[in-house]
């Protein structure tokens, strides 16, 4: 029988550009339950930030500086960023 691990994890969320302006800060720490995914984190943030509630879907996300899909499992200590549409060059 699989052992249920009740310990949670902490991830650092980074905000840039339009998202930072909307949220009003550059970074925050979120505590999540074991097995939480990137999409779970986004759903949490949507409840906290009215600006995010207007989004029809989760924006592009990066975990530890790599683009990931929403079903990616998070781990304790991960650096997570949801990214506004990029406009370099």
């Amino acid at each position: 029988m699989k052992r249920l691990d009740l310990r949670g994890m902490r991830v650092q969320v980074l905000y840039f550009a339009a998202f930072r302006d909307a949220v009003g800060r550059e970074t925050q720490t979120e505590e999540l339950g074991e097995n939480a995914t990137v999409a779970d984190l986004w759903d949490r943030l949507v409840l906290q930030v009215p600006f995010f509630g207007r989004f029809p879907a989760m924006p592009p996300a990066a975990v530890n500086r790599e683009y990931v899909e929403g079903d990616t499992a998070l781990r304790d200590g991960d650096e997570v960023a949801f990214l506004p549409p990029v406009a370099g060059g």
């Binding site: 840039f16 550009a17 500086r65 506004p84 990029v86 406009a87 370099g88 060059g89």
Partner: protein, 137 residues
């Protein structure tokens, strides 16, 4: 380091890139005095720095496989730029001009779509806004 706060020195970049390689293609992005019909006075470039460096490295790795004879040099400027300033410069050299053009073009296309860099435009009336390419008219 591909990102820099200092003005891009194109002459130095050409010297760095130019070997006896036959063909050289340089692309430079220059801050325009308008975007989508609205006058622009300045642009602030911001990046998710560590991720941007890794993503450019990854793009260059992919291009090295696709264009094995080409060599690429990339610089992207961050911070506040004025109209006419160079925001990005890419030099591709190759023994063959078709490859130099193709590698240079692919590099700027991928940088623009996948590297976490954003720009805030400032207008003559003092207002500003973040550029959203997905909402371009």
């Amino acid at each position: 380091m591909f990102m820099t706060d200092a003005p891009l020195d194109l002459a130095a970049l050409l010297e760095e890139a130019r070997p006896s390689d036959g063909a050289l293609c340089l692309f430079v992005g220059v801050v325009r005095n308008q975007n989508d019909g609205r006058p622009t006075t300045a642009i602030v470039y911001e990046a998710y720095g560590s991720m941007a460096e890794e993503q450019i490295e990854r793009i260059l790795g992919g291009l090295a496989r696709e264009f094995p004879s080409a060599r690429l040099v990339v610089r992207h400027r961050l911070g506040r730029l004025s109209v006419g300033d160079a925001s990005v410069a890419i030099v591709a050299t190759s023994p063959h001009r078709a490859e130099a053009f193709a590698a240079c073009r692919a590099a700027i296309d991928r940088i623009k779509t996948t590297v976490p860099i954003w720009k805030k435009e400032f207008h003559p009336d003092g207002s500003s806004d973040w550029v959203d390419p997905t909402k371009m008219s």
